[in-house]
Symmetry: C2
Subunit: 171 residues, 2 copies
Amino acid sequence: MDVFLAVASRREVREYLDRSLPESAVNRILEAGRVSGSSRNRQPWSFVVVDDPGVREGLADAVYVADNVRGASLVLAITVRGRGPVLFDAGRAAQNMMLVAWNEGIGSCPNGMADPDGVARLLGLEEDERPVTVLTFGYPVRPRDPARRSPEDWIARADRKPLEAVVRQLG
Amino acid sequence: MDVFLAVASRREVREYLDRSLPESAVNRILEAGRVSGSSRNRQPWSFVVVDDPGVREGLADAVYVADNVRGASLVLAITVRGRGPVLFDAGRAAQNMMLVAWNEGIGSCPNGMADPDGVARLLGLEEDERPVTVLTFGYPVRPRDPARRSPEDWIARADRKPLEAVVRQLG
């Protein structure tokens, strides 16, 4: 899929089909995170793939939308450590992963956590490591065909502030 | 360009040709930021396009690699305000913009700031607004043709930790 069409047509997906993801797709998603750029190439992230049912249920309780985690085909926590713009860099890696998933017809959603310390314990993180987000992936219950519209049309239909509200020009 | 190839082949670009960007490309870059997903759809960002030569020179002094800003065809600061995962969300928007740029053959690089308060004054930001990164865009001095290699080959040649160093499996 063309990059601009993928960026324009991607939306957060909160309900997934009960259908597993091809191993090749999971691998591409992980590689998309791994290859991401980061400040001073520090790659401050770990990607924790959660298959254990008990840990999954604990994660579901820890995020704001439990069913998004419960119903996902792939649950992946991004954790970071160290100094510098690690949250910004984690966002870059997450977006890479979610766009590459969408390229395969796979939906995704980032989940924030009410209790990051609890999630850190649940995932067995190291002392200096903290969770940033819980990404979920799966085939959407309501699929959408990106090719159905132009990128411009997808963007026009997105629930977003108008361009003049987010762009300022200096000079 | 295919999404996975774009993600795999994109690298930070620090030296740009002295060549302006088509208005259509600049518009797509801005739209890619605007349409990004964010926590609770808060869209906590502003994109400040800096054309003013004096402000540009001030920004060049404020980042770690001055020449990356001085030589850029488009200089755009991302600012955020409000609570929640605004830095993570800014990273998502930045990655959207940089991938859409790369889709047009345009290179890009995020620049951190030694003195964010100084940058806030320079850009005339509001009280509750803070700069996250200074993105630069331009045609690379050393262009690379993404189609020359497979995505897997691009990733294998990237200077990154091995997959087993960044991925953990629970269960």
